[in-house]
Symmetry: none
């Protein structure tokens, strides 16, 4: 019934009429549709008048009236709205920033929910996540630098080779690569200046595995 441009213009006119009580000018409509010249608006309005969606007083300023609204939307508009909804749904998630890791304190203790990090939803795939700020250079060999923000997926199981948040003796949390060795666990830093720690599995709790990393320069 209507072209997408006609539909958008009609909706814009209707919206400004309802919101401000007064009719938009040709220039305002031109801006709303992202056009650089208002001559095109003329044609669109004529088409809308012809199709009996608008009434206008010719040669009067801001003298348009919406007669009716279409029951059907142009299919491209429907597609666009779907995209927008998806964008809204899939936009970002606000994750709690639990503080700095490798600082020797368990994560829950630091938990300060006030700070948040926003992360694109496509970095998140089911489950619960939180963020940490990296302190120190013990994982520099894995490209994890001092000051980086890491996104951690909450879990208490990990596979060999995963980089995990490990809580040792319920008091010291660090980000390390994990390797299971029978009844013991290896926490492997990725920096030759640090030594691998070998601990009985009972002393180590996994608080999550590394899911992604965000770094901002400057």
């Amino acid at each position: 019934m209507l072209t997408p441009k006609q539909y958008n213009l009609l909706m814009f006119i209707n919206k400004t009429l309802k919101e401000t009580g007064c009719c938009p000018s040709f220039d305002e409509m031109k801006d709303a549709l992202g056009l650089k010249s208002k001559s095109g608006i003329h044609a669109l309005i004529d088409a809308l008048v012809e199709r009996n969606f608008l009434k206008k007083l010719p040669h009067k300023a801001r003298a348009l009236e919406v007669v009716r609204l279409p029951k059907l939307k142009p299919s491209s508009i429907i597609a666009e709205e779907k995209l927008k909804e998806e964008a809204l749904a899939s936009s970002t998630v606000e994750l709690p920033l639990y503080g700095k890791i490798a600082a020797g304190t368990p994560i829950e203790a630091i938990a300060n929910e006030s700070e948040k990090v926003s992360v694109p939803l496509n970095m998140i795939h089911g489950g619960e996540y939180y963020a940490l700020t990296i302190e120190g250079d013990s994982m520099i060999g894995a490209g994890i630098m001092n000051g980086d923000t890491v996104i951690i997926k909450k879990t208490n199981v990990a596979h060999n080779g995963d980089i995990v948040v490990a809580l040792v003796d319920d008091c010291e949390a660090t980000l390390k690569q994990i390797k299971k060795d029978g009844p013991e666990v290896l926490l492997i830093p990725k920096n030759e200046a640090y030594e691998t720690r070998r601990l009985p599995a009972s002393r180590v709790k996994i608080q999550g595995i590394l899911s992604s990393l965000i770094r901002t320069y400057h």
Copy 2:
């Protein structure tokens, strides 16, 4: 249907009519709209009568009647819609993923706008951005690993020490730290297995500086 002035006047008339029970005079209306002459009020009232919002007894004092008011959307609904729009606006940005860097081809040549990366809006601060996938390990010392996604801010100026996308001889693009040395430019990899290149400034074009980095595990 109405111009802003007409709308304001109509609302003022309606308001004083409801509040005081009697119609404002031309001078009162003139003052209410901040005009210095009441002749303009006349024209506005004529327009409102013509559009059937007012009725008047000519040559009678304070003899206006409001016929109807433009129907507005409740402001609560407007506020809600604004919130949604803002949420949408502040969510993520879709940046073009221009391909892999350190592959020896200029970025524009690879440019394939179909691939996109979504990035939280707070990573972006004015200017134009694009994304690249890192190939190779020449910047591993700076925590930039093979497969990482880097967000680049378009610019052709950089300061010493910045990590930039440098185009050499219009054909080879790499991500390196830059240092200016008189008429020459140093492109410094962050990996001892690679050597710093020293080139005349004329052969090097900066295509952007590193703004942030995103890495996904698994």
